[in-house]
Assembly symmetry: C2
Homo-oligomer: 263 residues x 2
């Protein structure tokens, strides 16, 4: 979803260290928008030259993380393992998983927890509702922060300098008619989120979907994650979301924060 650029390393970095950085860049450019790509597209997305990209891809194919089929490269299931240790090791993830399951039980709607990475939200816990065709998010996916309610509460929790960096990292791409696509309007939105303590995304990421999120704050009051619920964007669900869902979302956020406390 995001076009990365050459990984930042100090100028004197050893070539071997640089190759590791490049290899990880290459792995991370495969996403929902580009699950399989020609080498030239991988190079463009990773911000690398073709020769370096070709060498990295060859190594990744050799090691089993990437497969080559029909002139295109794609990740293999082996790549999936690389980040799995985070899911099993982070108290934040474990507490989030329990809380979204509890919320889904209460709401009968898909629920998610996300953290901020640059201008994106990374989903670290998610539920789907069996039998419901409407898709929620899956763990590991990145979504643009400016177009999601999780992203808004996460950005609202940043210090002014971190907020500016996140704004710079955001591309404010327009995903639907409703997406907030200017920094000025987004600033106003964030001020409102700070005042009210929750964020709403009304068809801004995907038409017909409304999400409502609240911040998860650690003991020091820092926003460490966001927890949200995904609903259809019909007029009556706005009332449900802000009246009925908010208290339970806040309770879930407190539980997640408590579950994290031992870290």
């Amino acid at each position: 979803m995001i076009i990365t650029s050459e990984p930042v390393l100090r100028p004197g970095a050893e070539p071997s260290v640089r190759t590791l950085a490049r290899g990880l860049s290459v792995l991370s450019v495969f996403d929902d928008g580009a699950p399989s790509m020609r080498a030239a597209d991988v190079a463009a997305r990773a911000g690398l030259n073709r020769a370096a990209t070709a060498r990295v891809l060859r190594t990744l194919v050799h090691l089993g993380y990437v497969r080559y089929h029909g002139e295109k490269f794609a990740l293999t299931h082996q790549a999936l393992e690389l980040g799995h240790g985070y899911l099993s090791g982070s108290p934040l993830v474990l507490a989030s998983r329990q809380s979204v399951e509890w919320l889904t039980d209460e709401f009968d709607e898909p629920c998610t927890v996300g953290v901020l990475a640059g201008g994106d939200v990374i989903c670290i816990a998610a539920t789907r509702v069996p039998g419901m065709i409407r898709a929620g998010l899956t763990v590991g996916v990145r979504i643009p922060a400016h177009a999601s309610s999780m992203g808004k509460v996460l950005m609202a929790g940043l210090s002014e300098s971190d907020f500016r960096s996140a704004m710079d990292a955001s591309q404010f791409s327009r995903l639907t008619e409703q997406t907030i696509d200017s920094t000025e309007r987004f600033r106003l939105e964030i001020e409102q989120v700070r005042r009210q303590g929750y964020a709403v995304n009304d068809s801004e990421l995907q038409s017909g979907h409304r999400t409502v999120s609240v911040p998860v704050k650690d003991r020091a009051g820092a926003v460490v994650a966001a927890v949200g619920v995904n609903m259809l964007a019909s007029p009556d669900t706005l009332h449900t979301a802000t009246e009925a869902h908010l208290p339970l979302l806040r309770r879930a956020a407190e539980r997640i924060a408590e579950g994290c406390a031992p870290e």
Copy 2:
């Protein structure tokens, strides 16, 4: 769960390529059993010397994939993204996800789809049942093939030479009183799985859990994945599993195979 060894690269591999291989080894040693480790433990698990491990860890911390806290290293949420492109790009994963959701709806039990990687099964789709404390698997987790019903059907589908390699890769570690921990008994078990077309795991991975799995076969008849259901291991669920659940598991397997056809 698995102790990896120095990645296999041709002897003349450039140092930079070798560092990429080592970096990926280091990322993949973090798992359920060791979510955070001291540098020496990372080195031991990755089968690398301490100097190489220290250099790789330093790079991974610098790039944001690993964090250092209280003398231990752990993955960050950034590592989670590395494999996500596989989840969004593979038709097998997409079809599997739909099918496990349908199965969970039918059974009201956690269901999973897995693929084989050496002596392990990697979970590529999984459901949890809201409100049920009993945990299912999560996507990306590796479990030992010899102690799971998915692993048994996957291994039963291998050619004799691939079967031998997978047997060699398996450590036949004893996880419960019921785990099959000898190659001889495992061979007999696989012969039975081949005859009956499904596999049962009765408290072999985790006490009190029974799972039943069937193979997903592509058009050429090759086993490409396994789909299974997770139940409590009470005497009456054995009947439910083999009588009531098997037909639906087989239907799910066919759906997954059809969903994959375009690949």
